[in-house]
C-alpha cells in the first residue's frame, strides 16, 4: 500500500475496522498524547491586569470547579484528537472530528465572559452545520464505494471516491476545526482560557493534517 503517510508500520484489527499506523499518523498521535499529558499536569494561568498610569496590578483567580471543567474538556478534546489520528474508518473519523468540535465548544464556553460565550455559541452553530457535510461525506463514501475502511479504499489504483465527496469531507472538517477562529476571543485575554485553550488550536491543526492524509489516500 502506497500512502502519503509513509510505509505502514502496523495493523490493529478491531473486527471490520482495521487501524493502520504510519509514521505520519503515529507522529500526530504522539503529539496529541504529549499535549494531553501537559494539560493534565498544568495549572491554570492567572491573569494579571496592569493599569497604566495608576501603578496597579490586579490578579484574577480561577475557581476550582471552573478549572476542573476546563481541564476535563481539554483532556476529552485530547482523547478525541488521538482517536481521530489513529482511526482507519471514514465514519469513525467523522465521529471523532465532531467530538473534537463539541469539546472545543466546551473549552471556549468555560470562560465566564459574555463576549467569549457569544463566540462559543457562534462556533457551536458552525460546528453543528459542519456535521452535515462531514457525516454526509462519510455516508456518500459508503454509498459510492461500498466500504468505509480507508485501508480498502487505499488498495484501489485510482481513487474511487468522487471529488465532490472529498470536498464535502474537507468542508465538514473545516467547520469542526473552526475553533481557533473563535478561540481568538478567549485567547486574546490570554488567561481566561490558558493553558487549556491551546487544545483548541492543537486539535484543529491535527484534524486538518489528518483530513489531508485521508483525502489523499482514499
Amino acid at each position: 500500500m502506497s500512502s502519503v503517510g509513509g510505509a505502514t508500520l502496523a495493523h490493529l484489527p478491531f473486527g471490520d475496522i482495521v487501524i493502520y499506523i504510519t509514521p505520519f499518523t503515529l507522529t500526530l498521535f504522539l503529539l496529541a498524547l504529549v499535549f494531553t499529558i501537559l494539560v493534565i499536569a498544568s495549572r491554570p494561568e492567572r491573569q494579571l491586569d496592569i493599569t497604566f498610569g495608576a501603578d496597579r496590578i490586579i490578579t484574577k483567580e480561577t475557581g476550582l470547579t471552573e478549572m476542573r471543567f476546563r481541564r476535563f474538556m481539554a483532556i476529552a478534546c485530547g482523547l478525541a484528537s488521538m482517536g481521530a489520528m489513529l482511526t482507519g474508518d471514514v465514519f469513525d473519523f467523522a465521529l471523532f472530528t465532531s467530538l473534537v468540535g463539541i469539546t472545543n465548544v466546551g473549552i471556549v464556553a468555560a470562560v465566564k465572559s459574555r463576549h467569549v460565550q457569544n463566540a462559543a455559541f457562534q462556533y457551536g452553530l458552525v460546528a453543528m452545520a459542519g456535521t452535515v457535510p462531514l457525516f454526509g461525506a462519510a455516508a456518500m463514501v459508503a454509498a459510492t464505494t461500498g466500504t468505509l475502511s480507508m485501508l480498502e479504499l487505499a488498495k484501489e489504483a485510482t481513487s474511487v471516491v468522487p471529488f465532490a465527496v472529498k470536498a464535502f469531507l474537507v468542508l465538514g472538517v473545516m467547520g469542526e476545526g473552526m475553533a481557533p477562529f473563535y478561540a481568538a476571543k478567549a485567547e486574546m485575554f490570554r488567561a481566561p482560557g490558558a493553558p487549556y485553550v491551546i487544545m483548541c488550536s492543537l486539535s484543529s491543526l491535527l484534524i486538518f493534517l489528518r483530513v489531508i492524509e485521508v483525502v489523499l489516500t482514499v
Binding site: 491573569q47 491586569d49 496592569i50 493599569t51 497604566f52 498610569g53 495608576a54 496597579r56 465514519f91 465521529l95 465532531s98 467530538l99 468540535g101 463539541i102 465548544v105 466546551g106 464556553a109 465566564k112 465572559s113 459574555r114 463576549h115 460565550q117 457569544n118 462559543a120 455559541f121 457551536g124 452553530l125 460546528a127 453543528m128 452545520a129 456535521t131 452535515v132 457535510p133 462531514l134 457525516f135 454526509g136 462519510a138 455516508a139 456518500m140 459508503a142 454509498a143 468505509l148 474537507v170 473545516m174 476545526g177 481557533p180 477562529f181 473563535y182 481568538a184 476571543k185 485567547e187 486574546m188 485575554f189 481566561p192 486538518f208 489531508i212 483525502v215 489523499l216
Partner: protein, 201 residues
C-alpha cells in the same frame, strides 16, 4: 445515472441548501439554534439513503452527536443570556490627546511593517498599532483585533490547503502565510498596550 439514490440525494441536498440559506439570513440567536436542528436532519437523511443495515448502524451515532451538540448549545445559550454585562468603573489614565503626529508615525510603522512582511514585519506593524492605541486612550474596540487574529488563522488554513492540494500554486500559499503571520503578530503585539481589561470581567 438518475437512479433512486441520486434523486434522493439531490432532494436532500436541496433541502440542506434551503436550511443553510435560512440560517444565513436569520440574525436572532435563538431562531438560529432552532434552524440548526432543522439543518441537522438532511445529514441523517443522507446516511439513511444508504438503505442498508450499515445505514441503521451509522444513523444512531450521527443522531447522538447531533442531539448532544444541540443540548450543549442550548445550555450555552441559557448561560449566555443569563449573564449580565456589568459596568466597570474605568481607572484614571492619563490620555494623550489624539493629534496628527501619532497617527502619521503609526501609519509609517504599519506601512513599513507590511513592506517587511512575516514575523519582523508583524512586530513593527504591531508597534505602530500599540503606539496609536496608547496615544488614543483605552476605549478601544477589541473585536477588531480579535477579528484580525481570527482572519489570520483562516488565511493560514487556506494557505495550508493550497500547499497540500494545489502544490503548483505554492508561491501564492507562501504569500498568504506571510500575510497571516503579519496579521497575527501585529494583533498580538498591539494587545500589549491594551491590557486594561476593564470593559468586561
Amino acid at each position: 445515472m438518475w437512479n433512486e439514490y441520486s434523486v434522493g440525494l439531490f432532494i436532500v441536498l436541496i433541502s440542506a441548501a434551503i436550511g443553510f440559506l435560512a440560517l444565513a439570513r436569520e440574525t436572532d440567536d435563538f431562531h438560529r439554534l432552532l434552524l440548526i436542528d432543522l439543518v441537522e436532519i438532511p445529514s441523517l437523511a443522507i446516511i439513511a439513503l444508504l438503505g442498508t443495515d450499515l445505514a441503521e448502524a451509522l444513523i444512531l451515532p450521527g443522531l447522538v452527536v447531533g442531539i448532544s451538540e444541540l443540548l450543549a448549545l442550548s445550555q450555552l445559550y441559557i448561560v449566555k443570556e443569563g449573564l449580565r454585562s456589568r459596568p466597570v468603573k474605568s481607572p484614571g489614565i492619563e490620555v494623550i490627546e489624539l493629534a496628527h503626529a501619532p497617527l502619521i508615525i503609526s501609519v509609517f510603522l504599519v506601512a513599513y511593517g507590511i513592506v517587511l512582511s512575516g514575523f519582523t514585519g508583524g512586530g513593527i506593524a504591531g508597534l505602530g498599532v500599540i503606539f496609536y492605541i496608547m496615544s488614543r486612550g483605552h476605549s478601544e474596540r477589541f473585536e477588531i483585533v480579535e477579528m484580525a487574529s481570527g482572519i489570520s488563522w483562516a488565511v493560514w488554513i487556506i494557505a495550508f490547503f493550497v500547499f497540500m492540494f494545489l502544490p503548483q500554486y505554492w508561491y501564492m500559499a507562501v504569500m498568504l502565510a506571510a500575510v497571516g503571520i503579519l496579521l497575527k503578530v501585529a494583533a498580538k503585539m498591539s494587545l500589549m498596550g491594551t491590557m486594561w481589561g476593564a470593559h468586561d470581567e
